[in-house]
Symmetry: C2
Subunit: 247 residues, 2 copies
C-alpha cells in the first residue's frame, strides 16, 4: 500500500499525542523504522511532526501501553509487532484457517454466553421470528497471543441450544457446528463498516481509546441455504486487513 505521509492537526479535538501515536502506528511498516525495528529518536520524531519532545513521549507511552512498541533507556524505542494480518473474506470464510501461515498460534476464547430473545434485525438475518430464543456467544480471537478480533455470535436456540458448551470445549465455531450436525457452511454475505471502538471492545482488544475497529456483520448458511449463524465481529483495524478475492 502506498504510504500516505500523515499530517497532524492542532485544535481538531484530538490530542496531538494521540494523532502522533496513530501516525506512528500506521507507519510502522514503512520507512519510519529501520531494519532492526528501531524508531527514530524522540528528538527526531518531534522535529518531523513539528511538536515538542514531550508530546512525542506521550504518544510513545500510549503505544507502549498498547504493546506496539517498547522503549529502553539509552538504546531507543523498538517495534514489537510489524506485520498486519490479512483476513480473507469469501464463501469459505473461517477464522483460524484464514490466518494459517500468518500466525503460529491461533485461538478463540469464549468470554461469555447466554440466551436471549432475538431482536428484529438478528431475527431477520437468521430467518426466524422476532422474539425467538437465540444463543449469544461473546468471544475474542487471538493470533500469537495478541487479540485481533472481538466477535459476538448468535445462533437459533432451537437448533443450537448447546453450542456454548461445545464451543467452549472445541474452541472453534467450525468444530462446534460440525458436532451439532452442520458439517459444512458458507458465508452468505458480509457487510463491513468502520468506527471508533466501544469501550468494551477496546478493552478486550487491548487498544487505546479512539482506536478504530473494522466491523463485519455476517451470516453463515448451511448447505441447504438456511442461515446458521449471525455474527458481529470487531477487528483491531491497525492489526488486520480484510481481503475479498485474490490469492
Amino acid at each position: 500500500m502506498t504510504v500516505q505521509s500523515e499530517q497532524i492537526e492542532r485544535q481538531s479535538g484530538i490530542a496531538m499525542w494521540r494523532q502522533i501515536a496513530d501516525a506512528i502506528r500506521a507507519g510502522l511498516a514503512g520507512p519510519l523504522v529501520d531494519a532492526d525495528g528501531k524508531l527514530p529518536p524522540e528528538k527526531v520524531l518531534a522535529e518531523r511532526f513539528g511538536v515538542n519532545r514531550h508530546t512525542v513521549r506521550a504518544a510513545i507511552r500510549a503505544l507502549a501501553h498498547e504493546g506496539v512498541v517498547q522503549s529502553h533507556q539509552g538504546r531507543g524505542t523498538f517495534v514489537r509487532r510489524k506485520r498486519r494480518l490479512t483476513y480473507p473474506i469469501g464463501q469459505r470464510t473461517r477464522f483460524s484457517q484464514g490466518l494459517e501461515g500468518q500466525a503460529a498460534n491461533r485461538s478463540t476464547e469464549l468470554l461469555a454466553h447466554g440466551r436471549e430473545q432475538a431482536p428484529a434485525d438478528i431475527a431477520r438475518a437468521l430467518d426466524i421470528e422476532t422474539g425467538t430464543g437465540v444463543v449469544r456467544l461473546e468471544s475474542v480471537g487471538l493470533a500469537d497471543g495478541v487479540p485481533v478480533s472481538r466477535a459476538t455470535y448468535w445462533f437459533d436456540a432451537e437448533r443450537f441450544g448447546t453450542i456454548a458448551d461445545v464451543f467452549a470445549r472445541s474452541g472453534s465455531v467450525t468444530r462446534a457446528l460440525a458436532q451439532l450436525g452442520v458439517t459444512d457452511y458458507v458465508r452468505a454475505w458480509t457487510r463491513i463498516e468502520a468506527r471508533h471502538g466501544a469501550v468494551d471492545d477496546l478493552d478486550h482488544l487491548r487498544l487505546s481509546p479512539g482506536a478504530i475497529v473494522l466491523v463485519t456483520e455476517a451470516v453463515n448458511a448451511d448447505m441447504d441455504g438456511r442461515p446458521v449463524q449471525y455474527s458481529l465481529t470487531r477487528f483491531a483495524a491497525d492489526r488486520v486487513s480484510l481481503q475479498v478475492g485474490g490469492d
Copy 2:
C-alpha cells in the same frame, strides 16, 4: 445493525466534544432522533452523555460544520442526512451502478491527473515492470451532491495513456474503459482497511479531523485476466458500508 450505546471517556486524548460528535453521528439512524429527524434538546443530550451543555454544543457545532445536522434557534437541531449508503463489492463492482436506487444523483468528478513511474507495489498489482509509465487519476465520487468516496486510480500508460481525457468527458471509469476497448471487466480482488483520514481526504470528503475512512485497495482485470486498473479508494466511513455478497 445492533446499536452499541457508545460511552465516552475522559482523558483519552480525544476531546469529549469530539467523542460526542462521533457518537451522535453514529446514532443518527437509531432511536436518538425522532421521525422528523429532530435531535433531543441540548440539555437532554448533555444529561445523557453526562457532560455540560456547552460540551454538547461544541459537538453539534462540529457536526453542523460537517453538514450532518443543522440547528435552528428556538426549534431544535435536525439531521440533514440519515441513510448510510451500502456499496456492494463483488465480481462486478462499479461505483455508480452499485448505488442505483440509493441515491438519485451519482457522479464522479476528476480532480487531477498525471503521469508517473509505477512504484513497486502498484507495478506488482498491474502486473507490469517497476518504473513503467502509469497514468494516475484523482477523483471524488458524490451521491446526491454529498462526497462519499475519494479515489486514486492507476492505469498502464501504454494501454490507457489517454484515459484522463476520456474519463473527464464521460465522468465514469466504466465508460472511459469501454471507449478504450475494454468493454467488460471484473474485480480481481479487494483489500479493505480502516484508518483516520489524511488531511487531503478529509478536505475533499468534507469530514472533520479524526474522522474514519474505509480504504479499499482493488484491482480490476479485463476478460483475459489482465489487470486493467489499480485503485485506492477512501470512503467516508460514516456515510457508507461495504457489502460482500447477499441481496
